[in-house]
């Protein structure tokens, strides 16, 4: 009987450990991602892009290289 209690205790201990450790790790990762997101938002707000120039803002997120560079026909052969 003692042995079976040990197995049951080990099972419940393992369950509690897995659930709590996974939960804690998730909340820690979430906290880090939230800080990164806030930093990113603040950086965007501080950047000259956000000064209200609509023409400039409309090109944000795009590379300065022409779009045709992404097509396979335009890739230069080595």
């Amino acid at each position: 009987m003692f042995e079976s209690i040990s197995y049951a205790s080990a099972a419940y201990l393992l369950t509690a450990l897995v659930l709590l450790l996974y939960g804690a790790s998730l909340l820690r990762r979430l906290g880090r991602a939230e800080r990164n997101a806030r930093a990113m938002t603040e950086r965007s707000a501080d950047s000259p892009d956000s000064s209200g120039d609509r023409r400039h803002r409309s090109t944000r997120g795009r590379s300065s290289v022409p779009h045709t560079e992404w097509t396979s026909e335009e890739v230069p052969h080595a």
């Binding site: 079976s4 197995y7 099972a11 509690a16 990164n36 990113m40």
Partner: protein
């Protein structure tokens, strides 16, 4: 960006933790030990709920993968990824608990029984799903390939469940209300409810993290 936790989710987390604690107390203290197996049978109150939540998570992953392929909306991919990760956690836990139960009952930690083998295959398929996501950088391609694995991997879920009916197995068939005494049934239902509630909390938080990661990834790309 999804930076704030909603009060309802915080309340859900607290309620789930409270119910889990109550479920542990009922399972370990209130319910009598089994007549034949003794105290080791108490593992049922965590082993079965963990397996149930694992199945639920893989089913959500299946549905979200189908919806991603249909709608091509990356939010469905985030949900599929979230539920696959949780499915691996709960299925892995259920397998480990089954192993702890198997040692005093069958005399071995592991045997190549159809139920155990199909469950192990399910676990490894979804570990592969998570590994695959780490290898592919391009979000659309990653989502498409993952959806295919998520859909094919799910096909093992009914096989795991039905394995005890299809083949002669060491693992017992599911117990019904007619074979389980009322106090044990109450403890099992409490375990199922608490695990499901905790899973819902983890799903909400992990989904928020997945969306944050996805938005940060897109923001990084657009700033390059």
């Amino acid at each position: 960006m999804h930076t704030r936790r909603r009060p309802a989710v915080s309340a859900l987390g607290l309620a789930a933790l409270g119910l889990l604690a109550a479920s542990f107390w009922v399972s370990l203290k209130l319910v009598p030990p089994d007549r034949l197996m003794g105290n080791v049978q108490r593992i049922m109150y965590v082993h079965v709920p963990a397996a149930w939540v694992g199945f639920l998570a893989f089913t959500i992953c299946f549905g979200a993968s189908l919806l991603y392929l249909w709608r091509r909306d990356l939010r469905w991919d985030s949900l599929a990824r979230t539920s696959a990760e949780l499915g691996v956690v709960f299925m892995g836990l259920s397998t480990a608990l089954g192993s702890i139960w198997g040692k005093p009952t069958w005399g071995v930690w592991w045997t190549w029984d159809p139920r155990l083998t199909t469950a192990a295959i399910l676990l490894f398929v979804f570990l592969g799903y998570l590994a695959l996501r780490g290898f592919v950088d391009e979000p659309e391609r990653r989502a498409r390939w993952s959806a295919a694995v998520g859909i094919v991997g799910f096909l093992d879920v009914p096989i795991v469940y039905l394995s005890v009916f299809w083949w002669r197995t060491l693992h017992q068939k599911p117990s019904g209300p007619e074979t389980v005494a009322t106090p044990m049934r109450v403890a099992l239902l409490l375990g199922m409810a608490s695990f499901t509630l905790f899973f819902a909390f983890l799903l909400a938080e992990r989904y928020r993290l997945a969306r944050l990661e996805s938005e940060l990834e897109l923001a990084e790309v657009s700033h390059v």
